[in-house]
Symmetry: C2
Subunit: 231 residues, 2 copies
DNA sequence: AATATAATGTGTATAAATTACACTAAGTTA
DNA sequence: TAACTTAGTGTAATTTATACACATTATATT
């Protein structure tokens, strides 16, 4: 059992679709490539899996090396294996996604010289990405769009404390439609997984909204049932 | 770009979780292995992807070679990449699933000598499978269990004509719970994707049930909307 | 201090979907 | 023709989803 990536036989890679929300806009984490092919293009953070690491571990390592981000929980969502997806040979890639809150603090600093830089880019007006990454991104976006209808993944994107308006706005961005404010609040509060805090927004013009936080305990109870068809 | 599978560098394979329903019992398609490792063990049909074929094509080819089945629409559901999942080296495997009606006519005849035989096995009382195939099977089963709650995949498992009792039974097997007959029928008929036929069961003891068929057109309309959060 | 501004926060009536629950009808077998 | 077995049906109560508009509050402006 030898490793020989240089020969570019059959190899596999990881690509990461990392969503971030800054309270207003949904963004995606990109790198600018520093190597051919697609030198200088924007691309998803991704690289080759080593012989001795699991896919999940590889995903973590690769994201770190290309962006400096650590301890991000990612989940696999699809594997792309068209024969010609990589111009230099046969590479299948396992795509992962994750969702993050953007506090602004998160510095992005590639460790590897493979990426010139890493940066957040709005998901709207995305230019064409390297390889089949546009397609991978799209599928990842559809994945979270579906997922948000049955799991409260939105909470991973929001800061610890958030207002109901922020929460609603995030749903609207992901689902790409307007929601009714009263119905939205009713539904969210009915889940019973939100805790209202004795705290309000500060520094905003006009009336400050209450902060809420997500109650992970109650969530676990509620969404463990899941698969329900009724009786 | 050379192919060198013998060296067992980094290679990838496909494994297929094929569900079949004979009207009573949910079954899965297995092979008996004819080669080491795990010679004589039961395993999912699976083999190595060639350098020049896409994953989807490979899945089709491999299923055919190991079981003789053709033209089965399969969908990828997860990729398994633990370092030690294959005793002979690093193999990641892309798992596909599909669902079939078992008419009894479908002959299973491996073309490849890699499988001694191919056969349908009840999903209950499954013995331990080769490699990590038990785990792959379980994940595939969870996949269809989830999917059946939002898509009428059950129709792929049933014969062209089927009774409502058969349909309900299939749901019960997949969801692993009893459903109320009246509510089930009400719900199914309300979807408007079933057409009642002027035909009844024959050759059954006791009262014969009406046959229904699935209306693919109406289905397409209904389930294209999908992703709904309401207004 | 008064006013304008901009977002927060709230209720109700209607419709639709889900749940719980039990008996009669029809065809087959003995 | 009686016994058996499965098919087939309705209704009331509850829960969930939808449509829709205005008063409240904090800040900014004059």
């Amino acid at each position: 059992m030898e490793t020989n990536f240089v020969k570019f036989d059959s190899i596999f890679s990881i690509d990461c679709v990392i969503f971030g929300f800054d309270g207003t806009e949904l963004k995606i984490l990109l790198i600018e490539r520093n190597e051919d092919p697609f030198k200088d293009w924007y691309a998803l953070p991704g690289y080759i899996v080593e012989q001795n690491e699991s896919l999940d571990n590889a995903a973590e390592r690769i994201l770190y090396e290309l962006t400096g981000l650590r301890d991000i929980y990612m989940e696999q969502f699809h594997t792309f294996g068209e024969v010609d997806r990589h111009p230099k040979g046969r590479v299948i890639t396992v795509a992962y996604y994750a969702m993050l809150r953007l506090n602004g603090q998160k510095e992005l600093e590639p460790i590897s010289s493979y990426a010139k830089k890493a940066f957040w880019h709005p998901v709207s007006q995305l230019r064409k990405l390297a390889f089949d990454h546009t397609q991978i991104f799209t599928r990842g976006f559809l994945k979270i769009r579906r997922k948000i209808t049955y799991q409260p993944i939105a909470f991973e994107l929001l800061p610890e404390k958030f207002t109901l308006t922020q929460l609603q706005h995030l749903y609207e961005v992901i689902l790409d439609k307007k929601l009714d404010k009263r119905n939205f609040r009713k539904k969210m509060l009915n889940y019973g997984i939100l805790k209202e805090l004795n705290e309000k927004q500060k520094g905003v013009s006009y009336r400050a909204a209450s902060y809420y936080k997500f109650d992970r305990r109650k969530y676990a109870k509620l969404f463990q049932k899941e698969l329900s068809f009724g009786k």
